[in-house]
Every structure is written in structure tokens, then in C-alpha cells.
């Protein structure tokens, strides 16, 4: 049963000059299509990866799925409900938000530097009204820190006291704090060193099993994706050019772009 369905998703940006300039130069309107008619579906408890180079539209899709950006056309359905539906009530929207969370690319920009880690983790708990008493909230924070491999003492520290990998763990803990069903991982390890990258990827896998999470995994790195995804979609200039399970994609890529991408990945085996 498909948990998330993206249907003919399109996002355009208006790059036209102001009208007065267009009048003077008779230039036409210019549209940049960042995402062009992309459809995919993700099964519950699995990882779907979107791979592409810069400008492929992968981050735009991520933003649309979490509702940070409205699609120009098409729709996203999550567990039978439309995301980006203007008509739904505030309370319903908040309920949807709780179930879809996100882990970001930059371990530095994704945590508010002026907030203690405990407060960062408590904010979603409060915003979604999950635990009322302070004691319960504190308990929950400790539990979250423990789940991502940090200690309860870390709640009083500030983000700058942590390394990049540890911050990414905090970011994951924040995403978990609302007990979501889906986590969008937007290049969660591309800013990390290799040895730390492995830790974070493994942590994501462990958490997926433990909480039967569904992941939408965005990455530019085919090698990373191959270790994470049940299904891979390849994006090129806003279009989904190929979609397959890893074994098929790497063994017999059908699209020439996919093939080129796979060949370009440096690999120990090809020495």
C-alpha cells in the first residue's frame, strides 16, 4: 500500500523581468521549471531515494513533500490525505505536520545556535502538544538523546559544543521528537566526513527498523543511496528519468543519463 504518492508534481519559478521592462523590450515571460511532472510513490516502512546532480530539482521536491513549498501543479497524498490542500483546517494541518518531519543537509545551519539542545528538542514536543508536564518533556528529551547515541547531559549544551556528526544526530532527534511516520532526509550526510557519514547512515537504518519509519532520501551520491534505498528515482533537470530497485538500476540502467551518472562515480573496483 503506497504511503506517500506524488502525482504529476510540477514546480515553476517565474524569472521574468518586471512588466515595465518586458513592455520596453518585448521579452516574453520566462519560467524555470525546477520540477517537471514527477510522479512516484513510497511504501510504508521503506526508503525511497531521489538522486540527481545540482539543479535536478531534488530539494524542491523535498520541500514540496513536507509542505514548505506549494506545487505549481500536481499533488502529494500522504496516508490518503492531500498535503498542500488549502482547505484543510489548522488543526488537521498541524496533525499532518507532526507525522512528516525532516533532517537537513547542514549540521551547522539546521540548529538554532542560540538554543540549548534540550530546548531545540522540546520545541516540537510543545508545538504538537505531545507532553504537557515539564517532567515528561524532560524525560522525552533524554529518551530521544539516548536513541540517537547522545547522553542526557547533552540537553544543556549548545549546538556549537558538538561536532558535525553529533549535530546531525541532534537534528535526527528533533525530527523524531514529534513521533513522525515519515522523515525526509535531505542530503543528511553530504557535509560530513566519511567515517562519521557511516555512523549517521547506520543510525538512520537502525531507527527505521525500530520505529518502522518511511524515508524519502535525497542525495547526489549514488554510492550512499545504494546503501540506503529500497527504490531509487533518478532526476535530471527536473524530470524523473528512471525509477528502479537498486539491483536493477545498477546492473542494467536503462536511461543514458543514469548510465553516465553511474559510470562517473569513482569506485575502488575500477582502479
Amino acid at each position: 500500500m503506497s504511503f506517500i504518492i506524488a502525482n504529476h508534481l510540477t514546480r515553476q519559478y517565474d524569472l521574468s523581468d518586471p512588466w515595465i521592462v518586458r513592455m520596453l523590450t518585448s521579452n516574453k515571460r520566462k519560467q524555470l521549471t525546477a520540477v517537471d511532472d514527477v510522479s512516484f510513490s513510497i511504501d510504508k516502512g521503506t526508503t525511497y531515494a531521489l538522486v540527481g546532480e545540482s539543479g535536478s530539482g531534488k530539494s524542491t521536491i523535498a520541500k514540496m513533500v513536507v509542505g514548505l513549498l506549494a506545487p505549481s501543479a500536481g499533488a502529494i497524498t500522504f496516508d490518503g490525505k492531500m498535503i498542500n490542500d488549502e482547505t484543510i483546517s489548522k488543526a488537521d494541518r498541524q496533525r499532518l505536520r507532526r507525522r512528516i518531519q525532516m533532517v537537513f543537509q547542514s549540521p551547522y545551519a539546521s540548529l538554532n545556535p542560540r538554543w540549548a539542545v534540550g530546548d531545540i528538542l522540546k520545541e516540537p514536543i510543545r508545538a504538537f502538544g505531545l507532553f504537557d508536564s515539564r517532567a515528561d518533556q524532560d524525560k522525552r528529551v533524554n529518551e530521544l538523546l539516548d536513541q540517537v547515541g547522545l547522553s542526557a547531559r547533552d540537553a544543556n549544551k549548545y549546538p556549537h559544543e558538538f561536532s558535525g556528526g553529533q549535530r546531525q544526530r541532534i537534528s535526527i532527534a528533533r525530527a523524531l521528537s514529534s513521533q513522525p511516520d515519515v522523515i525526509i532526509c535531505d542530503e543528511p550526510t553530504s557535509a560530513l566526513d566519511v567515517s562519521v557519514q557511516a555512523q549517521v547512515l547506520n543510525l538512520l537504518k537502525t531507527l527505521q527498523k525500530e520505529f518502522s519509519l518511511t524515508y524519502l532520501f535525497i542525495s547526489h551520491d549514488l554510492a550512499v543511496v545504494s546503501t540506503m534505498a529500497n527504490k531509487i528515482g533518478v532526476l535530471n533537470e527536473g524530470k524523473l528519468v528512471e525509477e528502479a530497485v537498486p539491483s536493477q538500476l545498477f546492473a542494467k540502467p536503462e536511461n543514458p543519463y543514469t548510465k553516465m551518472l553511474i559510470d562517473a562515480v569513482p569506485d575502488f573496483g575500477k582502479v
Binding site: L222, A223, T227, A264, F268, V271
Partner: protein
């Protein structure tokens, strides 16, 4: 020793902060042979870029070279880097979008570098500049174009042309493909390999990516916390890493492998120590599963001309 173009002996680079003195590079010894690509690999804070800057003499206060020697073609250059900089040794940087002066035509930038280092007429310099562009795969008719009209990959080619223009014998490439897409990365790496082959230019390739190293370099030097961890022929190191850190690096680098998603990746526990808190003995010992007392107490030397690890000592003893 005649096949050594560049030799670094016991290099030490430090920075004095307000509270203490930090070692950015600590007692590093390595050599670059003529016509080879030497990889300098390590994670952030390993000191690899610092080493590159030290060779070309671009270390700036408050960072300084506080020990060791750098020899180039039999001359000691750490005191007078100006004599070789640009002319004999050149460097390219990570972000091609920022590496070119936006106000100058690329042809003029090339000609400036050529006439600075070579005693030739303006006409010849133009010819030479066009030749350089052809060599890196850029249409010479774009001599009069400004940098902003080039894509990232093309700009990196222009930067390479600039670095090659005075015919240096050593080019230091500091993460030259990190800011580029994979498909462009492959092209730039091929270009570097080709230059090394046709011109006989030695290249020091600084990167954090083991896969790039394995595909591009002849020899590799693995750095950890400013120190040399392991050095040797790339193929051997990839196949049989000796230092536990190298082993970890190789094993934790994800590979395209359709079956790997069932498994967990190999992971090195912990994280790189902060510069003001480098562990005693072997800097890697807190993250090393084989560490024993000697590792905690004494700093290992490079053993068997290969790796700085006491485990090798134990192996040799057996």
C-alpha cells in the same frame, strides 16, 4: 633520491591561539616523485590543505611553519617560497566559481600569468595562452570571454590552464572537484591524469574522498590529526590497508553495491579529536579497537616505510 621532485621532512605547522599552540601539521615527512600523482587524503582537520599551502608558501599569520624542511629539486624552499611559486609549483583550489577574477577576461588572466613567469613577447604569450586553453579542452576563441559566462566545470578547466601556463613541474590540487557534480568531477580528474601523463607534471591531489584517490592517484598519503597515518602505492593501500584508520576509511566509504542496503556500513566509532585535545600517544587510539597500552603512551613512528601504527610493530615481531 634523484627521482624525488619534492621532499618534506618533519614538517610542523602550528597556530598560536590565545590560550595555547595547536599543531595543524605535526612531524610530517613525505616525498613526491617526478611525474606521479600523489594523493593526500584525510578528513576535515587532518592538515592536508595546510600541507599544500605550506609547500607553495601561502601560510599566513597567525599560522606558521615552526619546524621541518621542504626541499624542491635539491633546493630548500620553505624559507624562500617566492622563487618557485607559480613558476615551478602551482596550485588550484576547491571552488572554481570563486577562483577567477570576475572583472578580467580569461585570456588576459592567462597572459598576465605567462608574461609574469616567462620572458616572451606579448604575441607569443597570446599564442601560448590559446595553446593552454586547447590543452584543457576549451575553445581558444573564448579568450575574450569573462569568467561569469563559464560553467563551474569549465571554470575549473580555466583555473587548471592558469596553473599549467608557466609549465610548472608540480601542481597542488586542493579538493579540485569537491564543489562539482559527479559527472563533471570525472572529467576534471581525467584531465588531471592526462596532464600528468603527457606533460610529466607531478600532481598532489588533496581530497577527502577515498574513491577519488583510488581512481586517480599513483601513491597515497593518509593523514589523521595533522599526522601521517599511512603512505604507499594506492593499489596496495586500497587492497591491504595497514593502519586501522585507513582500514576504517576504506571500509566506511559507501560503494555502489546493489546488495549493500541489507547490511550496515562499517563505521569508525567516535569522531576526529579537536585540535586542542589531541590524545596522547597515537592520535587515533581512542577510536581504534586494537589499541593497547603502548598506543596510548607512545606516538608511533612510520614502520615498514608504510604506516604509523604500533600494530605493525607487533606483526613484524611475530
Amino acid at each position: 633520491m634523484s627521482d624525488h621532485l619534492l621532499e618534506i621532512k618533519n614538517l610542523k605547522i602550528t597556530v598560536a591561539t590565545r590560550r595555547n599552540v595547536l599543531n595543524l601539521v605535526d612531524n610530517l615527512t613525505l616525498a613526491v616523485k617526478k611525474g606521479e600523482i600523489l594523493g593526500l587524503v584525510g578528513e576535515s582537520g587532518a592538515g592536508k590543505s595546510m600541507t599544500g599551502s605550506a609547500i607553495i608558501g601561502l601560510i599566513e599569520k597567525p599560522v606558521k611553519i615552526s619546524g621541518g624542511e621542504i626541499w624542491f629539486k635539491g633546493k630548500r624552499i620553505d624559507q624562500h617560497p617566492d622563487e618557485v611559486r607559480g613558476h615551478e609549483i602551482s596550485m588550484i583550489f576547491q571552488d572554481p566559481m570563486m577562483s577567477l577574477n570576475p572583472l578580467w577576461r580569461i585570456g588576459d588572466q592567462l597572459i598576465e600569468v605567462i608574461t609574469t613567469h616567462m620572458n616572451i613577447s606579448h604575441q607569443d604569450a597570446i599564442k601560448k595562452a590559446k595553446h593552454c586553453l586547447v590543452e584543457v579542452g576549451i575553445d581558444p576563441s573564448r579568450m575574450n570571454a569573462y569568467p561569469h559566462t563559464f560553467s563551474g566545470g569549465m571554470r575549473q578547466r580555466v583555473v587548471i590552464a592558469l596553473a599549467l601556463a608557466p609549465n610548472p613541474s608540480l601542481v597542488i590540487a586542493d579538493e579540485p572537484t569537491t564543489a562539482l557534480d559527479v559527472s563533471i568531477q570525472a572529467q576534471i580528474l581525467d584531465l588531471l591524469k592526462q596532464i600528468c601523463k603527457t606533460r610529466g607534471t607531478s600532481i598532489i591531489l588533496i581530497t577527502h574522498d577515498m574513491a577519488v584517490i583510488s581512481q586517480t592517484t599513483d601513491r597515497v598519503c593518509v593523514m589523521y590529526s595533522g599526522r601521517l597515518a599511512e603512505i604507499g602505492i594506492t593499489k596496495e593501500i586500497m587492497a591491504h590497508p595497514q593502519h586501522p584508520y585507513t582500514k576504517g576509511l576504506v571500509a566506511s566509504t559507501p560503494q555502489i553495491d546493489a546488495s549493500s542496503f541489507e547490511k550496515m556500513l562499517y563505521q569508525i566509532p567516535g569522531s576526529m579529536p579537536a585540535l586542542d585535545n589531541i590524545p596522547s600517544g597515537c592520535a587515533f587510539h581512542p577510536r581504534c579497537e586494537h589499541a593497547h597500552d603502548k598506543c596510548r603512551a607512545e606516538r608511533p613512528e612510520v614502520l615498514s616505510n608504510r604506516a604509523a601504527c604500533w600494530l605493525l610493530d607487533a606483526n613484524e615481531g611475530q
